[in-house]
């Protein structure tokens, strides 16, 4: 059972953080902008230097080569960026059902990235991440630029993925409705401290 555990994680201005996210659990993270939410995700993905330990199952971050760690603990950045001209080469594999769940047909793979709208890019970035089948998800506002319908689609896909992979999910969101819908637990980052809010069960 994949479990994500932070032990005395210290990054940037944040106080030491302890947090455990169980298999198939979604924990939402909110807090004022600049509180360090993205910084925290970056430390878990090992993109910035930090202290403390992060465990996935029985594997400690530093004991695994970094690329392998990052492909297991997949992070979705707030702005999605693309490096090839077409959509397809960004994908490790194609799961048709997931594309459909987000309202795409597979022709989108042949599109030029430059033709995509912001919202399309954001949804495709989620699919891109999932195509690498990470064992845990770190999501930085995965539905920030989406309308109501697409927001729901994204939520449903993430919940489905979570169920299938039994993946722990740490999800930054500012939308209290969304937090109520998807989260089992809700934390706030304020003044460098992680405060566990109510349980959502």
């Amino acid at each position: 059972m994949p479990r994500l555990r932070l032990q005395q994680l210290v990054c940037d201005r944040l106080q030491p953080i302890d947090l455990e996210i169980g298999a198939a659990e979604i924990v939402c993270l909110s807090g004022p902008s600049g509180a360090g939410k993205s910084t925290l995700l970056r430390a878990i993905a090992d993109l910035d230097p930090h202290q403390g330990e992060v465990w996935l199952d029985e594997q400690e971050q530093a004991s695994v080569p970094a690329p392998q760690w990052r492909s297991r603990v997949g992070m979705l950045a707030a702005d999605s960026l693309w490096w090839f001209d077409e959509v397809r080469p960004h994908f490790a594999r194609v799961e048709q059902e997931w594309f459909q769940m987000l309202g795409f047909d597979l022709h989108v793979l042949d599109w030029q990235v430059s033709r995509l709208s912001r919202g399309e890019r954001q949804r495709l970035a989620l699919l891109r991440l999932l195509s690498h089948t990470p064992n845990a998800l770190l999501l930085d506002e995965p539905s920030a630029n989406l309308d109501v319908e697409n927001t729901r689609r994204v939520e449903i896909l993430i919940e489905r993925y979570r169920d299938v992979q039994q993946a722990p999910v740490l999800w930054i969101s500012h939308d209290s409705e969304q937090i109520r819908r998807v989260a089992q637990r809700h934390c706030r980052l304020e003044g460098g401290h992680l405060v566990i809010q109510e349980s959502n069960t």
Partner: protein, 266 residues
């Protein structure tokens, strides 16, 4: 054929041209006159010094002098590769990487040419060794400076892209591969263009010099071809080494992109 020697007065007349250019810059407010005058003065001083030193070294052929001269040239060329990068690695890295890559490529190729192709006795005959090494260093230095400058500035601009690639589990080499290719091009294109255009668009300085000093054109051409190939090889190998070392230094042992290791110099 006899050589027409120049007097220092002839040289002074040529200097008038540069002075005129500086004057034009001042009059047109191009703000280049200072740089032109400083660079022109450096030309005179540096070349006069080198001329004197070469006179001494040529008169007293010793390996030690050649090695010392080569070291000084390497040190200066290493500094130039660093100075021409707008964003460069901080600490000793920019200088170190430039110098190491210059050394591994230029020295190896120059040694190869001296020992295998020219085969002089002694092999370090300064009349051959120093000009050859100088041409190698000059061109390799350009290639390395251009490519590192390109690599560092594109890495800076595209840092978010590189990081998103890392987030998907890509190895640092993969995450920066396109930038490296682009930087390699930037470093190599002048050399490739020079090989393609030589003789048609431009007569290279070395060949021209040999012809002016009375060598038959076909002999000068053979030397020039050898030099061009050496320069291409040296610049190419040097650029590859510099990009490998430079790109690696942008990432730490956990393959995190560490752009705080770059500093901006105006």
């Amino acid at each position: 054929m006899s050589i027409i020697t120049l007097t220092w007065w002839d040289v002074a007349v040529a200097a008038l041209l540069v002075l005129a250019l500086a004057g034009l810059s001042f009059w047109q407010r191009l703000a280049l006159q200072r740089q032109i005058l400083i660079a022109g003065t450096r030309t005179i001083v540096q070349l006069a010094l080198v001329g004197l030193i070469l006179e001494i070294i040529f008169a007293d052929v010793r390996l030690l002098w050649v090695v010392l001269m080569a070291m000084v040239m390497l040190a200066v060329a290493g500094y130039e590769t660093m100075a021409r990068q707008k964003r460069r690695l901080n600490g000793f890295w920019a200088y170190g990487i430039g110098t190491v890559s210059l050394f591994t490529s230029s020295f190896t190729v120059a040694l190869f040419a001296l020992l295998v192709i020219i085969g002089n006795d002694p092999w370090y005959q300064p009349q051959y060794a120093i000009p050859l090494l100088g041409m190698m260093l000059g061109n390799t230095m350009n290639g390395i400076a251009l490519s590192l400058d390109r690599l560092m500035s594109t890495a800076w601009q595209q840092r978010a892209v590189i990081e998103q690639r890392l987030m998907l589990g890509q190895h640092w080499k993969e995450a920066i591969s396109e930038l490296r290719v682009e930087a390699m091009r930037a470093g190599m294109i002048p050399t490739i263009n020079a090989m393609a255009a030589v003789g048609v668009v431009s007569l290279p300085g070395m060949m021209t010099g040999q012809i002016l000093s009375g060598t038959s054109p076909i002999e000068a051409v053979k030397y020039q071809i050898m030099i061009m190939f050496m320069v291409a090889a040296g610049a190419g190998f040097g650029t590859v080494v510099a990009l490998q070392l430079g790109a690696r230094r942008l990432f730490d042992e956990r393959e995190r992109l560490r752009l705080e290791r770059l500093k901006v110099v105006d």
